[in-house]
């Protein structure tokens, strides 16, 4: 016991833990640079062993302080500095245990009490019950084992840490909108790229690729073609639409506004169309790989090409009904789905964890001010109202470095969604930190203590030298 205490209160342990933390942190920052923040969190900042080292540091400091007992006046700087560190550690633990750090997005005129956190959850609802299950984020190469979800007859059998949606199209009989797969090829750089256009979804019916545009009209039979081409800009634009007999019509405008057009029958395969684009160097061509006069779409997810950095997309999960491997569904973050187990229908939502505030925030107006003669923002702020009993009725301005405080929650202006002519969606950070006081007090003690420690040493040593 004595030996253990001597070890726990030793300077040796202090140096080892300090060096250990420094190494762990170095690794974490490189993980963050090579992969992303989530990876660094998973392996270091939120890992149990890192908490372990921090706890060890706390124990070490505490033991050293006990070791110095009975304390004398000359111990004061040492005690202040080390109590400061303990308080900082304890305050951080309090924040981790019961603090809130989320974001609230509001459009002008909107009000909401809903704060989104960074963690992900899976919401499962059937006619009997509702369950919200936390889904822990894991890096791509971390081994994943399928596991069952709460008391539902479901299991999660696939996990993709950075997922990209992939829409697959399949031929349908009739009444469905058309889809087309094109291969853009040639050009000065011997370009080759396949794209899909789908008329059934606005996001998929028009695509821009550099200066070129591709559109598949959702309309078909019997439409006056002239009316179709009332589109104002018709340069470098390829248009496609379905004819009466399921044939494919096309019209491709070149840079100067002239076009070439024609049609292909439903059966024709791998036809190459000339475009007139980049003609002076080497022409780009369009190859029609697949033409589906009527198509259905189905979304699945696959690992994204971008596996790191702030541009890396969020995760996706695949669920299936236990014992029936054929019945399953893919969910990207924010997706909803309904799954029929044969016995009951389950509504599913994969989303960020949410917390409801005991009151609502209403955004009246978002204001932004740019630097003279540029679009670089110089300052932005939101005018809000708190919807709550006893809340002040007048508008309150939240701006950078000037937050709003209400009932222990603090609202910071953190960002906005850029838009022209002016942005109208404001993003706030919402925060509640029970450890704040502890951390501040600890900071003051730490700085004061270490300053005193060195001043005292200086005075002492000077006496010795002279």
């Amino acid at each position: 016991m004595n030996a253990l205490f001597r070890f726990l209160s030793s300077l040796k342990l202090a140096v080892i833990t300090i060096v250990g933390i420094a190494i762990a942190l170095t690794v974490a920052t490189f993980l963050e640079s090579w992969y992303d923040t989530r990876t660094a969190r998973f392996w270091v900042y939120r890992s149990f062993w890192f908490y372990g080292i921090l706890a060890l540091l706390g124990v070490n400091i505490f033991a050293v302080m006990v070791d110095r007992w009975p304390w004398k006046k000359r111990h004061l700087p040492f005690l202040l500095a080390h109590i400061g560190i303990l308080m900082l550690l304890f305050g951080s633990w309090m924040t981790y245990q019961s603090g809130l750090d989320g974001s609230l997005m509001l459009e002008e005129g909107q009000s909401s009490p809903r704060v989104e956190l960074e963690e992900n959850v899976l919401v499962l609802i059937d006619s009997m019950k509702t369950q919200i299950l936390p889904i822990e984020w894991k890096p791509a190469h971390y081994p994943f084992e399928p596991y069952s979800l709460g008391s539902f007859d479901l299991e999660m059998d696939q996990w993709i840490s950075h997922a990209e949606p992939k829409i697959q199209f399949s031929k349908a009989q009739s009444d469905e909108p058309p889809a087309i797969e094109l291969v853009i090829e040639g050009g000065p750089m011997n370009f080759e790229k396949a794209i899909w256009l789908f008329a059934g979804d606005q996001n998929w019916s028009t695509l821009s690729l550099g200066p070129a545009q591709f559109t598949l009209f959702p309309v078909s039979v019997g439409v006056d073609v002239k009316q179709l081409f009332s589109v104002p800009i018709r340069k470098n634009h390829a248009f496609f639409w379905r004819g009466k007999k399921n044939e494919l019509h096309y019209r491709i405008y070149s840079k100067d506004g002239t076009y070439m057009g024609g049609s292909l029958s439903e059966k024709s395969q791998e036809t190459v169309l000339s475009t007139g684009w980049m003609k002076q160097i080497k022409e780009l061509k369009l190859r029609v790989r697949q033409w589906m006069p009527h198509a259905l779409n189905e979304t699945s997810y696959h690992p994204a090409r971008v596996q790191k950095g702030p541009d890396a997309p969020p995760s996706a999960i695949h669920l299936r009904v236990k014992g029936k491997s054929s019945v399953g569904v893919w969910l990207g973050l924010g997706d909803r789905a309904v799954l029929d187990t044969g016995e009951t229908e389950i509504q599913i939502q994969y989303r960020r964890k949410q917390v409801m505030l005991p009151f609502s925030l209403h955004l009246e107006e978002f204001k932004i001010q740019n630097y003279q003669g540029t679009y670089n923002p110089a300052m932005y702020s939101s005018f809000v109202r708190v919807i709550d009993e006893n809340a002040p009725q007048e508008k309150i301005e939240i701006k950078m470095n000037d937050p709003l405080k209400w009932k222990g929650f603090t609202f910071f202006q953190s960002s906005y969604v850029p838009a022209r002519p002016r942005p109208t969606i404001s993003i706030f950070t919402v925060n509640q930190d029970p450890g704040r006081f502890m951390k501040y007090l600890g900071s003051i003690l730490l700085v004061l203590g270490s300053a005193l420690l060195f001043i005292r040493k200086y005075v002492g040593k000077k006496g010795k030298i002279s």
Binding site: L11, K12, V15, I18, V19, I21, A22, L25, T29, F30, E32, S33, Y45, G91, S92, T95, E164, P165, I167, M189, W196, W204, L207, S208, L209, G210, P211, A304, R305, V306, Q307, G309, P310, P313, Y371, Q372, G373, T374, N376, P377, A378, Y380, M400, N401, P403, F412, S414, T429, V430, N431, D433, K439, S443, L446, V447, S450, A451, F454, Y458, K461
Partner: protein, 555 residues
């Protein structure tokens, strides 16, 4: 504007020769206010920034910046054939099939280069494709390599040059919203007229007419500003001050003086004569005055704390080094302190001064999160002062390492154990003091960073790489101090670790922004210079290892 260019064409077709500097008196035209890059600045700064941006160096063939930028717009066709666009990387020259021995290339060479054109097309299509939905076309997410970056820079230089010659960037026409360019202005006939006569006089090389036109143009711009409610006197005095500080280049003067002072301090070991002491202190004080003045003017012009980018922080850190040296000298009276500080400070300032394309010395406006913030100012100033103290630690410990090396070699020769001489003990003591300053300031600065983050983002600590690296640096020095206290770190080890510890400061200061490039401090991210910094760090580590080898062998 077209007529203007035509005029230039006409004249130039008679005198088909290399454009030469005119060396007129530019003092009037330099002070003309112009809106560019989000702020109002004198034309002098505008010209300097564009010349730097296009040629990649401060001066070109003896042209004054204003002279050069006027020459560009006056003789666009001659300049098309003139090699002045800089390409640094050999692989880029190779890729573009250009001669690898040359440094500068003409716009014509580049615009007739098929490989370059193809690349320009690719960039243009990348830019155009930004609005594409993520699900369909994703960026590859790979960090650009140096070659691509250089190509982009060269393309940027070419476009910038075109924008200068077309008149597009000459936003000289005041407007309450956004100043209009001289190329598309019809609302300000006086400004347009005097600008044209200015160019005409420049083309015709008429000195007096040029001066007159410059006065007229300045009057016209300021007159228009006045009608829009601007306080002309303030504008004039600020423009004057900025032009003056551009011309004096305070920090350059400061480092030259520090360097000389350092040499004089060195002479004090050789010669006991009093004059060296007087000279050294005179020079270092004068250098310090220039340093402070340069800073003061910068703060006055930008109305903010002078530590918002790498350039400013280097200047501030070298200032901190001097301040700590003065303080410690008062306490301990060791001239080695001043010698070290002078050379260290001079080196830092030279590094900041030498590479304006990488370390931007411009007075650019700030991103919103950095604006008007008391805590931010305090936090950054404190933390960088901590860096300064560690820089001094590093310098002193390095000198001590050489003493240790000398002692080890001598001991080896005499076949005795090396001793720690009083000189070495003194140096270690100074290192220790400086390190204490550093630890207290870095701890306070990091915590103040937490306070600021709490105040403006709502969280005290978020494991952001910049804060983490400040903490790592702090932990490194704490480990050294605790090790010393425990008696594991002996005098030699203390000197060696003090040198090595500075690597963590380099990482926190430079590395996070230039190497890691992730996190919330993104407003400071940049690239370049990695080869140099990495080499310097590597050489330093090898040096320490060598000395420890000799030290070990001798003892």
């Amino acid at each position: 504007m077209k007529r203007l260019i035509l005029l230039g064409l006409l004249v130039s077709s008679f005198v088909w020769a290399q454009p030469q500097p005119h060396n007129f008196s530019f003092s009037q035209i330099k002070r003309i206010p112009i809106q560019n890059g989000g702020r109002l600045k004198p034309l002098d700064s505008f010209a300097r920034e564009w010349v730097l941006g296009i040629t990649g160096s401060r001066t070109f063939k003896g042209f004054d910046s204003v002279d050069l930028i006027l020459s560009w717009i006056s003789f666009p066709n001659e300049w098309e054939k003139e090699p002045f666009i800089r390409i640094n990387r050999k692989d880029v020259k190779k890729q573009l099939l250009l001669s690898e021995d040359r440094k500068y290339f003409s716009p014509q060479e580049l615009t007739h280069n098929a490989a370059f054109l193809q690349y320009a097309d690719q960039i243009a299509s990348e830019m155009g494709g930004q609005g594409v939905k993520k699900a369909q076309v994703t960026k590859t997410g790979v960090k650009e390599d140096g070659r691509q970056r250089e190509l982009k820079t060269v393309l940027g230089r070419l476009t910038s040059f075109r924008r200068v010659t077309s008149g597009e960037v000459w936003t000289l026409v005041p407007d309450p919203q956004k100043w209009k360019s001289i190329a598309d202005s019809s609302s300000a006939p006086e400004i347009e007229k005097s600008f044209k006569s200015l160019i005409r006089a420049y083309v015709a090389s008429e000195k007096d007419a040029f001066s007159q036109a410059a006065v007229l143009l300045k009057g016209a711009v300021e007159g228009k500003m006045k009608t829009q409610g601007a306080d002309i006197q303030t504008v004039q005095s600020r423009a004057g001050l900025e032009t003056l500080s551009n011309e004096i280049r305070f920090f350059q003067k400061a480092w030259s003086l520090y360097l000389l002072a350092g040499l004089c301090f060195l002479m004090m070991w050789v010669s006991q004569r009093k004059r060296w002491k007087v000279l050294a202190w005179g020079l270092v004080s004068l250098g310090f005055v220039f340093h402070v003045l340069g800073f003061g003017i910068r703060v006055f012009l930008t109305q903010r704390a002078p530590v918002t980018n790498m350039y400013e922080s280097i200047v501030w850190v070298s200032f901190g080094v001097m301040v700590f040296a003065f303080i410690l000298y008062r306490l301990q009276k060791k001239k080695i302190l001043m010698t070290t500080a002078c050379f260290l400070s001079a080196l830092a300032l030279i590094a900041a001064d030498a590479n304006p394309t990488m370390l931007n010395p411009g007075l650019d406006p700030l991103v919103p999160v950095l604006r008007s913030n008391f805590w931010l100012t305090i936090h950054v100033l404190t933390i960088t002062l901590g860096y300064a103290a560690f820089a001094l630690t590093y310098g002193l410990a390095n000198i001590n390492l050489f003493h240790f090396l000398a002692a080890a070699l001598k001991a080896k020769k005499e076949k005795v154990k090396p001793k720690v001489s009083p000189k070495m003990a003194d140096l270690n003591q100074l290192t220790y003091r400086a390190m204490q300053f550093g630890v207290v300031l870095l701890a306070a600065g990091t915590i103040l960073g937490g306070v600021w983050a709490d105040y403006s983002w709502g969280r005290f600590w978020g494991w952001d790489p910049k804060e983490v690296w400040a903490l790592i640096a702090l932990l490194c020095y704490l480990a050294i101090l605790h090790g010393r206290y425990a008696g594991w770190v002996r005098p030699f080890g203390f000197a060696a670790w003090s040198v090595l510890g500075f690597t963590s400061v380099v990482m926190a200061w430079y590395g996070v922004n230039f190497v890691l490039g992730v996190g919330l401090h993104s407003y400071g991210f940049a690239s370049g210079g990695m080869e140099w910094v990495a080499t310097a760090v590597l050489i330093q580590i090898i040096l320490v290892l060598l000395v420890s080898f000799f030290h070990k062998r001798a003892s």
